[in-house]
C-alpha cells in the first residue's frame, strides 16, 4: 500500500480530476458556506476557522488560480524547452498576445456583461492568436538552435512588447485597465486539465517521439525521416497556444495588463518553474509550478509572519527584525538565487526526465517491462 501501489491505480486520475472540478465549483459558488457543513465539521471535530481561513478565503482562492495559470504556462513551456530541448524565451510574449487579444475581446467585442458564458471564447481566441505567432517563431527554429534561438525568441518577446507599447488604441505603455474579473476557479481548473491532457497526449504521440528525437539529435532524427519541421511547427503551436490561454486567464484575473507585466522577468519566472520541476516531465511541471507559486506567496512578509507566529517571542522578534520585515524585496532576491542553486546542485529539478506513472500510457509501461534495458527514445518512461 505504498507509493508504487498508488501509482498503479490509474483509475484514480480521472476520479481526481472529477473531484477537483466539483471542488472548484463548490468553492467558487461558496457551497460549503452553510450551517450543514459547519455542523458536520463540528461533529467530526475540525475547528471551524480552518475552513474559514482556507477554502473560503478569497486570497487562498486567488493563489489557487495563480497556481493553475502557472501550471498551464510551465507545462506548455516544458514542451519546447524540456521535451524538445530548444531554448525559448518568448513565453511571456505569447502570454501577452493572448492576454491582449482576450482582454480586447471582452472589453470591446463580446457582450460578456450579458453572457458571461462567452468568456471561454475570448480565452480561446487569445490562445489561437498566440498559436499563430508561435508558427512564426517556429520558422527561425528550423535554421538556428541553442543560443541563437534563445536570442531570436528574446528578440520576439521584445518586439511584441515594443509593438504593444507603440499602438495607442490598445493603451500603449499605459496598458488596459478595468478588465472584468471573469476568471473563476472552475475555468482555471478546466484549462489546466486541458493543457495537461493535450501536452501529455502530444508528447506520447507519434509527433511526441519526433519531439524527443529532436532533443537528442536534430540532424540524426531528420535522417531517420522525422519531419522535423512539422514537429517543430506543432510543438511551438501547442506551446504558444497554451501560453496565450494562460495570458487570457491571467488578464481577467489581474484585471489590468500593461506591456511591462510581460517582460523577460515573467519568462524567467516560468523558466524557474520548469527547471525546478524538472525538464521533460509533466508531473514535474505541475509540482514545480505549485511549489514555486506557493513558496512565493508564503514569502510575503505578512504571510510568513502569520506562518511563524507560533514561535516564542525570543526567536520571533529577531527573526522579524532581521528577516521578515525585509522579505518584501527579499523574496525577489531569494527566488533567482533559488534558480541558481537549483541549476548548480540539483540540475534535474524535482523530477527531471522522470514521470509519474499515471501520465505514462499503458503501452509504454508494458514496453518498458518487456525490455528492461531499453533506454533509447526517452529515458522519461522510467517509473517513479
Amino acid at each position: 500500500m505504498g507509493w508504487e501501489w498508488l501509482m498503479a491505480q490509474r483509475w484514480l486520475l480521472p476520479v481526481l480530476v472529477a473531484v477537483g472540478l466539483v471542488l472548484a465549483f463548490a468553492i467558487e459558488y461558496n457551497l460549503f458556506n452553510n450551517e450543514y457543513v459547519r455542523e458536520v465539521m463540528m461533529y467530526v471535530g475540525i475547528p471551524e476557522y480552518t475552513l474559514e481561513y482556507t477554502l473560503f478565503n478569497k486570497y487562498v482562492q486567488l493563489v489557487m488560480m495563480y497556481v493553475g495559470i502557472n501550471i498551464i504556462l510551465t507545462v506548455s513551456l516544458n514542451l519546447v524547452n524540456g521535451y524538445m530541448g530548444e531554448f525559448s524565451l518568448a513565453h511571456a510574449g505569447f502570454m501577452a498576445v493572448g492576454a491582449y487579444t482576450a482582454a480586447l475581446l471582452t472589453q470591446k467585442v463580446l457582450p460578456v456583461a450579458v453572457y458571461p458564458g462567452l468568456f471561454p471564447l475570448a480565452v480561446l481566441a487569445g490562445g489561437l492568436m498566440a498559436a499563430l505567432l508561435g508558427l512564426i517563431v517556429a520558422v527561425p527554429s528550423f535554421k538556428v538552435r541553442g543560443d541563437y534561438l534563445a536570442i531570436i525568441t528574446l528578440a520576439f518577446l521584445m518586439i511584441v512588447k515594443s509593438v504593444i507599447e507603440n499602438i495607442d488604441t490598445i493603451g500603449g505603455p499605459r496598458g488596459i485597465p478595468g478588465i472584468k474579473k471573469l476568471t473563476t476557479l472552475p475555468w482555471v481548473f478546466f484549462w489546466t486539465v486541458v493543457s495537461i491532457w493535450v501536452v501529455r497526449n502530444f508528447v506520447y504521440s507519434k509527433y511526441g517521439r519526433g519531439v524527443l528525437s529532436i532533443r537528442e539529435d536534430e540532424i540524426a532524427s531528420d535522417l531517420m525521416s522525422v519531419n522535423t519541421r512539422r514537429v517543430k511547427f506543432l510543438a511551438f503551436m501547442v506551446s504558444s497556444f497554451f501560453a496565450g490561454v494562460a495570458g487570457g486567464l491571467f488578464a481577467h484575473l489581474l484585471q489590468f495588463i500593461s506591456p511591462r507585466v510581460f517582460d523577460i522577468i515573467k519568462t524567467t519566472d516560468v523558466l524557474i518553474m520548469v527547471y525546478l520541476g524538472g525538464i521533460a516531465s509533466i508531473g514535474g511541471s505541475i509540482l514545480g509550478a505549485t511549489v514555486y507559486t506557493v513558496l512565493y506567496e508564503i514569502l510575503r512578509p505578512s504571510n510568513f509572519a502569520d506562518l511563524v507566529s507560533w514561535l516564542p517571542a525570543v526567536v520571533l522578534d529577531p527573526l522579524n527584525e532581521y528577516f521578515i520585515r525585509h522579505l518584501g524585496v527579499g523574496r525577489m532576491v531569494i527566488m533567482p538565487l533559488l534558480l541558481v542553486l537549483v541549476m548548480l546542485y540539483w540540475p534535474r529539478g524535482i523530477m527531471g526526465l522522470r514521470e509519474f506513472r499515471w501520465f505514462i500510457p499503458k503501452r509504454d509501461l508494458e514496453a518498458h517491462h518487456r525490455q528492461p534495458a531499453h533506454g533509447g527514445s526517452h529515458g522519461a518512461a522510467h517509473g517513479h
Binding site: 524557474i272 533567482p336 548548480l344
Partner: protein, 295 residues
C-alpha cells in the same frame, strides 16, 4: 555649413557616444562567448552594478573622476570573477542551457539585490566640468569627447592585449581548444578568470560613462542596455572582438538615426527586428565564421 549637414554631424557624434558605450559592454559578451561558448546573460547587470559602484565612489567617497572610474572597473571586475567562480565554473561540463539559465538567474539576482539596497533611482553628481564647444553649429561637449576617446583607448588596449601579449595568446588558444591547451601548461581557470575580469572591468567602465552621460541610474537599467550590447556582439559576429566594436557602432548609429527620424519609442522595435533578421540571414555575424554542425 548647411542645416542638414550640421544635423547629420550632430547625430553621428551622438551615435559615436552611444556606440562606444555599447562597444565596451559588447566586448565582455563576446570575450566570454569566445572562450566558454556561453552567453553571459548577467553581463548587463554587471554593467549596472558598475554604475552603482561609480555612484558609491562619487557620492560616499567623494572621489574625482579618474579614481571613480578605476574603482568602478575594479569592483565590476571583482564581481565578474566572483560570479564566474561561484556560478559558472561548476557548470562548465553541464549542458549549455544550464549555464544560460544560471546566468539569467544571476542577472535577476543582481538586479533585485541592488533594488533591495537602493530602492529609488540615484542621481550621479557631475564629476567632470562639462564644457560645450560649438564647432560651426555642431555642439560638442567635453563629456562626449572623454567618453568616445576613453572607450576607443580601452578598445585599442584590449585589442593589443588579446592579439599581442602572452595572456591574450593564452585566451585565444583556450577558445580554440580546452582539452589540450591546458596540457601545454596554460592555466585554464586563471585565463578564464582573467577573461571575466577584463570583460566585467570594461562593463564597469561603461557603467561609469553611462552614469555620467545619463545621470539617473536604477537597478533595472542594465537589462535593456545589456541586451543592446549583446545585439551588437551578435551583429559583429559573437566571439570576435573587432566584430563586437563594429557591431556596437552600427547599432548605436541605427538607434540614433531611428530616434532622429521616428518617434523614440520605435527604437527598441527597430533594434530587435534588426537582430532577428540578421540572425536569420547571417547568424555568424559580420566578421564571424560559420560553424559546421556534426551529428
Amino acid at each position: 555649413m548647411s542645416e542638414s549637414i550640421v544635423y547629420w554631424l550632430q547625430q553621428t557624434l551622438n551615435a559615436l557616444q552611444l556606440g562606444s558605450i555599447y562597444a565596451l559592454i559588447a566586448l565582455g559578451y563576446t570575450m566570454v562567448y569566445g572562450i566558454l561558448i556561453m552567453i553571459n546573460f548577467a553581463h548587463g547587470d554587471v554593467f549596472m552594478v558598475g554604475a552603482f559602484f561609480c555612484f558609491l565612489a562619487a557620492v560616499f567617497l567623494g572621489l574625482p573622476f579618474a579614481p571613480t572610474l578605476l574603482l568602478a572597473m575594479l569592483g565590476a571586475a571583482l564581481l565578474g570573477v566572483t560570479i564566474e567562480r561561484l556560478a559558472y565554473k561548476p557548470l562548465r561540463h553541464a549542458p549549455r542551457v544550464s549555464a544560460i539559465i544560471t546566468a539569467l538567474g544571476v542577472g535577476i539576482f543582481l538586479e533585485n539585490f541592488t533594488l533591495a539596497l537602493a530602492p529609488y533611482p540615484k542621481n550621479i553628481p557631475p564629476l567632470l566640468e562639462n564644457i560645450t564647444w560649438n564647432l560651426g553649429g555642431v555642439s560638442l561637449s567635453s563629456l562626449q569627447v572623454i567618453i568616445i576617446l576613453l572607450s576607443l583607448g580601452l578598445m585599442f588596449l584590449l585589442d593589443y592585449v588579446v592579439h599581442r601579449t602572452p595572456v591574450g595568446m593564452a585566451m585565444r588558444a583556450i577558445s580554440w581548444d580546452k582539452t589540450f591547451v591546458p596540457l601545454m601548461g596554460v592555466p585554464l581557470d586563471l585565463i578564464i578568470s582573467v577573461t571575466f575580469a577584463i570583460g566585467a572591468g570594461l562593463a564597469g567602465a561603461a557603467g561609469t560613462m553611462y552614469a555620467l552621460a545619463y545621470p539617473v541610474i536604477d537597478p533595472y537599467m542594465g537589462i535593456i542596455v545589456g541586451w543592446k550590447a549583446f545585439i551588437s556582439a551578435v551583429v559583429g559576429g559573437i566571439g570576435n572582438i573587432r566584430g563586437a566594436m563594429i557591431g556596437a557602432f552600427i547599432l548605436g548609429g541605427v538607434e540614433i538615426m531611428v530616434t532622429a527620424f521616428f518617434p523614440s519609442t520605435y527604437r527598441d522595435f527597430v533594434a530587435f527586428t534588426l537582430l532577428m533578421l540578421l540572425i536569420l540571414a547571417r547568424p555568424y555575424g559580420i566578421l564571424g565564421k560559420p560553424r559546421t554542425q556534426k551529428v
